[in-house]
């Protein structure tokens, strides 16, 4: 496997979608290749960055309105 191909398999690898033999070849390559190992780590850190994109707080006005709707539903369904 060449680096050019390995980088295109990284999502399949992270998703656990490679066949057992492909997975083994992929991992063998990664162990011996600084470039692909660094690239895979970059992808993992990219995922981490996306998960930490700051949550937007719910506006008070919206929360108040939704809670009121929830209470209405609750009292209507009793």
């Amino acid at each position: 496997m060449k680096c050019r191909e390995v980088v295109e398999l990284m999502t399949d690898y992270l998703e656990g979608a490679l066949t057992a033999p492909d997975r083994e070849r992929f991992e063998q390559h990664i162990v011996g290749c600084d470039g692909c190992r660094a690239y895979l780590q970059q992808l993992r850190l990219t995922l981490r960055a996306m998960r930490s994109v700051e949550g937007v707080p719910i506006p008070d006005r919206v929360q108040t309105e939704l809670v009121r709707a929830f209470r209405n539903w609750r009292s209507a369904s009793r």
Binding site: A38, S52, E54
Partner: protein, 207 residues
């Protein structure tokens, strides 16, 4: 699976019982990801906020009928997608002609790394940089986050919806395929291209 833990059966039960604390916790926790999801379809922040609010109102109205076949989170995000798509259709008259012409196949596998970074034999010309030693404040800092968001916003819509659902909202692959009506393989192709684009944007910043 994070989705299962976060909206466990007992959370749904509390909600159906009318437990207000559970409801407030949910609307606060999901507001950010729901808004990002709505904005995968709608540019206007205010309209996206409306969609999120409408999604919760729809969820409340349908709560008695929801049987928990999917996780609560998947169900609610599905409502956001439906409402956001309907809203976009209403406004798609505004789509420019060039935007229509630019439409490309989102499911084609194509190189996600600049081919010039490899030798003719397919090895790295120069290896990518190690990000491990980059301090957290930089990697997850304000500038990096803005680059990430800008990169996501620039993606084609069909890549954007997948990456927001998977990597921002952290839904599992199965529910996402179901919500979007796409195969597991197409999901992976879109996800791969989207992640590669975001990685590239971070690399432009971090080196």
């Amino acid at each position: 699976m994070p989705g299962v833990v976060e909206s466990s059966g007992s959370e749904l039960e509390s909600l159906k019982r009318g437990d207000e604390a559970t409801f407030v916790s949910l609307i606060q926790r999901y507001h950010g990801p729901m808004l990002r999801l709505a904005m995968a379809y709608i540019r206007d922040h205010h309209i996206a906020e409306d969609v999120v609010q409408e999604a919760w109102l729809t969820a409340i109205r349908s709560l008695d009928r929801f049987e928990g076949r999917s996780s609560l989170k998947t169900w609610i995000f599905g409502i956001v997608i439906n409402l956001a798509r309907a809203r976009r259709r209403k406004e798609s008259r505004l789509l420019t002609f060039t935007a229509l012409l630019r439409r490309e196949d989102p499911d084609r596998r194509e190189p996600t790394v600049d081919p010039s970074r490899f030798t003719a034999a397919g090895d790295w010309r120069a290896v990518p940089h190690q990000w491990e030693n980059i301090p957290e404040e930089t990697l997850l800092g304000r500038e990096a986050m803005q680059r990430v968001q800008a990169a996501i916003e620039k993606l084609p819509p069909k890549h954007r919806e997948v990456i927001v659902l998977r990597d921002v909202a952290e839904l599992d692959a199965g529910p996402v395929s179901e919500l979007l009506g796409i195969s597991a393989e197409n999901q992976r192709v879109r996800l791969h291209r989207a992640r590669a684009a975001v990685r590239k944007a971070l690399e432009d910043y971090l080196g």
